[in-house]
Symmetry: C2
Subunit: 247 residues, 2 copies
Amino acid sequence: MSEQSDTGRRPRTPRNTLSADLILDTALRLLDERGLDAFSMRALAEELGVGTMALYTYFRSKEELFCAARDRVFGRYAPPPRTGGPWHRQLREACLGLYQLFTGRPSVLQLLAEQHRAERPAEQGPAVGAVATMEHMLGLLRGAGIGREEAARAQTALVQYTVGAALRAGRTRCTDAEQRRRFQARLESLSAEDFPLIVDLAPELAAAQESTTQYAFGLDLILAGLRTAGSWEAAGRDDGAPPAQSD
Amino acid sequence: MSEQSDTGRRPRTPRNTLSADLILDTALRLLDERGLDAFSMRALAEELGVGTMALYTYFRSKEELFCAARDRVFGRYAPPPRTGGPWHRQLREACLGLYQLFTGRPSVLQLLAEQHRAERPAEQGPAVGAVATMEHMLGLLRGAGIGREEAARAQTALVQYTVGAALRAGRTRCTDAEQRRRFQARLESLSAEDFPLIVDLAPELAAAQESTTQYAFGLDLILAGLRTAGSWEAAGRDDGAPPAQSD
DNA sequence: GGCCCTACCGTACGCTGTACGTTAGAGACG
DNA sequence: CGTCTCTAACGTACAGCGTACGGTAGGGCC
């Protein structure tokens, strides 16, 4: 037969069937379906029906591809519609929107985690698409009469907390309930003498591992703190929230 | 000496020179010195002057070794001495201690990141050594009159924020100032029409990337929120911090 | 002395990312 | 139509990874 069926010599893809967008969409789909561990340039190429090295025509490396994938998702992010209402409520909505962007698709979470693991952050910009949300948050904070530096720090803290919570949420994907049961069991197996509270509160602690409610809880704590701080200039109580002068 | 220099055939290590502790200490040193990317079972074995597979006598896999390394560090963690004072100040000290544990050694941060990246968290327990700090935190919260569920959630939020901040801090290691300068430059290169506040606050936002001060700022926000929430039972204002009843 | 147990080790397999050089097909031009 | 060029797509190769498997030698025991 004319078919040289020797070990998968492929029939050479036509000429312009590939594109950066097609590659990125397929990569994101692969990440969603099979997870980061199952992802590889070879697997991606096979999914596209293409030789592995064809990918390197469009991206110089796997890391560059990941950055582009992340920017693609973030770039398409549409923040939730402005609801009006007090500034802290709007801030809450904005943060929840970000959180859901991060946790909505497994692939996004995995790209985030990978980015955090990277030794050298390279040139990867700051999540270009979500910048509008950053701007919105800063506007709300400044509008509430919060000073320049404090607004910047508060915005950073909110993003930091959101990313951290999203990463943590990613660890307990799939088998939510099962995972939490085992967590509880492990807490309860601790010495009740040395750690009476942990053992006693094990059910509550396990329940707090659930993601969205717990995220909202911490978020509301931060927002309440922001409201309390009130007059930022006149800060300096002996036991309140001093201007953070540790080393 | 009698070196058979033919391509590294080694002279067989005596019999009981290896031990789990020695392996873990060497692994942590390697991680501190050369980073996660340069770490491999082969490199670790070579550092020990030992065949690669000797490591598998003590650990079933690389992941198990990492978990043991993490537990070793956490297990040796001594929380800062109890200072007395109001509960929220003590809570602050406890969290700062945890944060410094996480950020103090590069290796710890890298193990944390790796753990967060893992697809299947396997059997890795909850950072066994730092459990005493968890207990301490819960005691402070409960002592402040905070309810069971809220205490558990607050404790989880504090740990979550701390880990998230530590991970973020890890990204800007080594070249701190340089990294922040580039971050600021990238912010300033955005369209001043679309993102006036970001461009305006670029210096402050870049400064907020610095780790410890920024961590303390967010921590104080959370603690202030905890103090404000006050009587937890009587919560239910229209715009305050409702008991987080999303999804 | 002889034996066993096991800590240590060498080899090998399948996987990874990607450097490098090759090839074929589309478009431009005579 | 023939030919030339440019480059998207490709195959091969390499160094390195984690680790399954089986071998080997040396310390402890009878």
